[in-house]
Amino acid sequence: MATIHTRKFITADPEKCVGCGVCEYICAFEKEKAFNPLKSRIRVVRLDSVINLAVACRLCEDAPCVAACPRDALTQSEETGIILVDEDKCNGCGWCIEACDYGAIMLHPNKKVVFTCDLCDGEPKCVEWCPEEALDFVSKDILAQKARITVVKRLFQEAIKTLG
């Protein structure tokens, strides 16, 4: 069983994300065979021309959306941590939407049930397509590792140059 330490999720690097929304297009196409960002599981926020970031489900431990559902329509996969929606039980009441701090679970524009990122069976299309390589499919532990390596590299820029 995957723990919160090893579960991989979709993350966007704020340094790299340019807000183009290719992830939204490819997600909606992969899941619903249509070009429509409203059907995307990942969403881009552009607050200003210089402030852009894509946001998707972060696979919280004891996910608040699951806890908030009064109809037990949501469950969290023990294996991957993704949120599973029982479309027969969900009536689109939106308690889960209120409970999510990240806006990562949304009401479907046509089906009137909620939907969220399912990681494309471990091969997320958005990560594959991101033209800026700003998206990563990664666990929180590895994310921290990467951040550490980046910062150390930055500190030792000159030394790395000499090493070739």
Binding site: V18, G19, C20, G21, V22, Y25, I26, F29, E32, K33, A34, F35, N36, L38, K39, D48, S49, V50, N52, P109, W129, P131, E132
Partner: protein, 629 residues
């Protein structure tokens, strides 16, 4: 329909009547979308001689068959078309960002704004629901403020807005229409037409699917373009961006400086793309669905214009920089930001400021005319002040807001000699005195002075041809690019992506077919490009344009380049211009007066527009017979 939404929305701003009409497949294939579709709708929905600022001049907004799809750069474009208040001919301007894709998702290939609203309004297009909203509280606000206020008042952050600023409201003829804060449908005064309709803004939210005919093949094609966009064809746009041109043009003696007095600029280093990237650019962002990302966002870190934030491209940088003799980047960026704020075409505005400086240097304008501003070339702070005056139409700014051609007429005293425009549209940042292939494209462009209708400067700058020579056969090269560029603007893909369609029309035809399901061959698409170019010509002929209107700016034909550089001494004579035009008209299959023949119209499937040329052709053939006798 695939690719297309299949609907045209017609909004009568006077009566409040709103209706949709179907977009016929055959019609769509013939005119593609964007400026092609827009110009055809303009011809069909306006009468000859219509006053551009009267209610009878429709403002047409179009998307393209790729808008709203994942097509890189194609997914996000839109165009405005109307009779231009600057040129009196066809006006058209494209923009990218996020607005066009939203419009497509709302389900429209085109929106025709007819007539004039009694009082300021904005139109709220919420999928099928179209509402007229009071815009009293938005009047006087900048496009950026308008965008934010509309989102707040309608309570939806994802609403996209295209709006005019003060310039459009005050019917400045160089007003643009802005969307997504920093993007502009800039040229030919489309914001002026919008202002004349009391239309402050168009707000749209679209939630519908956009479907393509062959989705899997389409995606494969897009994936390939993504790879190409990471390659050398787009390196320029991803690194220094178009400001790279500054030093390139300067080295080649092709950087118009001080209103075309010189062709090299001693301060070029300080206004170069290199300097800009190092000191001012904080981030490079992208439009919806684009894999390239080109939008260089610059922030002024210190000094009197600290905090100025603006997207930078070469043309406005040139217009407020070298063209005004200004080498202070902070002031240039401020002037550009102000253009966004007032909703002014930054290219035309910079051109006009340079013109005013030239007049001042020659004593045609004095301190009395300028409210004390010392408009010497190089006075960076005066440039910023004058942009404020143009935006608000205060003092001299009121005259200058009329565009360089009309301003020169009003100022008189020989100011016309310094007014660098073609057909009334202000000149752009290529010194065509020494770029004589590009000069052909500039002279004949249907929207006036423009590098983007033909891109023929590429042939000159890359040395494909001898750029100082005028010779027969050159026009054919220009026409090939013109036809391609017209298709680029009709599909509405971005010109920055042009290098990624390795097989030109072949690639684009495939793109079109995969999206729409309507089979299109490369030759059919080339023909559509030719058709749309003829369409622009026909509109202008209908409005009374003749060979005389295919002219070049006065300085280009009067002032040899004085600088000690490769282009020294170069300029264009009347004889050379005549040779260019004869060559061009012949290659286009037009008469010596530049009128498309009936045979040409038939070949292009434009027989129904023969009424525009019939009398002119008769007159010309009569005249020729007389000459022969």
């Amino acid at each position: 329909m695939f690719g297309y939404a299949g609907r045209i929305l017609r909004i009568n701003l006077s009566s409040g009547r709103v209706r949709t009409e179907p977009l016929r497949e055959e019609f769509a294939k013939k005119y593609i979308g964007g400026i092609g579709l827009g110009m055809r709708l303009l011809i069909d929905n306006s009468k000859a001689g219509v006053d551009p600022l009267s209610p009878e001049n429709p403002l047409i907004l179009t998307t393209g068959p790729l808008s709203g799809t994942i097509a890189p750069t194609g997914g996000n474009g839109h165009a405005f078309v109307a009779k231009s208040p600057l040129t009196g001919g066809v006006g058209e301007a494209k923009s990218h960002g996020f607005f066009g894709s939203e419009m497509k998702r709302a389900g429209y290939d085109a929106v025709i704004f007819e007539n004039r609203a009694e009082k300021p309004v904005y139109i709220w297009i919420d999928d099928d629901n179209v509402q007229f909203m009071d815009a009293k509280h938005l009047w006087g606000k900048s496009p950026q403020e308008t965008e934010a206020l509309i989102r707040e008042e309608l309570g939806d952050y994802y609403i996209r807005v295209a709006a005019i600023g003060l310039a459009g409201e005050k019917l400045s003829r160089i007003a643009c229409i802005m969307n997504d804060r920093t993007r502009a449908a800039g040229r030919t005064g489309m914001g002026t037409v919008m202002g004349s309709k009391n239309l402050k803004a168009i707000a749209v939210r679209g939630t519908k699917d956009v479907n393509v005919a062959q989705p899997d093949e389409f995606l494969e094609f897009v994936k390939m373009l993504h790879e190409r966009m990471k390659g050398p064809a787009t390196t320029k746009y991803r690194t220094l961006g178009t400001p790279l041109n500054v030093l390139v043009h300067n080295a080649l003696g092709a950087l118009p400086t001080r209103n075309f007095t010189n062709a090299t600029f001693e301060g070029a280093e300080k206004v170069s793309g290199e300097y800009l990237n190092e000191h001012f650019v904080v981030r490079i962002v992208g439009c919806s669905s684009c894999a390239m990302r080109c939008e260089h966002i610059a922030v002024v870190p210190e000094g009197p214009y600290k905090g100025t934030t603006v997207r930078v491209e070469y043309e406005p940088l040139w217009a407020f920089g070298p063209h005004c003799g200004v080498d202070r980047m902070d002031a240039i960026l401020k002037a550009m930001e102000l253009c966004n704020y007032y909703g002014l075409d930054s290219l035309s505005t910079g051109n006009i400021v340079g013109f005013a400086m030239d007049c001042y240097e020659h004593g045609i304008l004095t301190k009395k005319d300028t409210d004390g501003l010392e408009l010497n070339f190089g006075n960076a702070d005066a440039v910023v002040k004058l942009v404020h005056m143009i935006g608000r139409r205060e003092g001299l700014g009121d005259v200058l807001a009329e565009g360089v051609k009309r301003a020169a007429e009003k100022i008189g005293k020989g100011a016309e000699k310094f007014a660098n425009h073609i057909k009334g549209l202000e000149m752009t940042g290529y010194d065509i005195r020494g770029l004589k292939t590009a000069a052909i494209g500039y002279a004949v462009s249907f929207r006036g002075a423009d590098h983007n209708r033909h891109g023929a400067y590429g042939l000159d700058l890359k040395g494909t041809v001898d750029r100082f020579k005028v010779e027969k056969g050159r026009a054919k090269l220009v026409i090939d690019i013109e036809n391609l560029y017209t298709i680029i603007d009709s599909l509405i893909i971005c010109k920055f992506s042009r290098g990624t369609y390795y097989d030109g029309f072949e690639d684009l035809a495939k793109y079109y077919t995969l999206a729409t399901g309507m089979p299109m061959t490369a030759e059919e698409l080339r023909l559509a490009g030719e058709r749309i170019n003829n369409l622009g010509r026909l509109f202008n002929i209908r409005e009374g344009f003749t060979r005389k209107d295919d002219h070049l700016p006065p300085k280009v034909m009067s002032t040899p380049i004085p600088d000690d550089t490769v282009s020294k001494g170069s300029y264009i004579t009347q004889e050379e211009l005549d040779l260019m035009l004869d060559d061009y008209y012949a290659a286009r299959g037009w008469t010596r007066e530049g009128v498309p023949t009936l045979e040409k119209l038939k070949e292009l499937g434009l027989e129904d527009l023969a009424y525009i040329v019939k009398n002119k052709l008769k007159k010309e053939s009569g005249k020729r017979k007389k000459e022969v006798n």
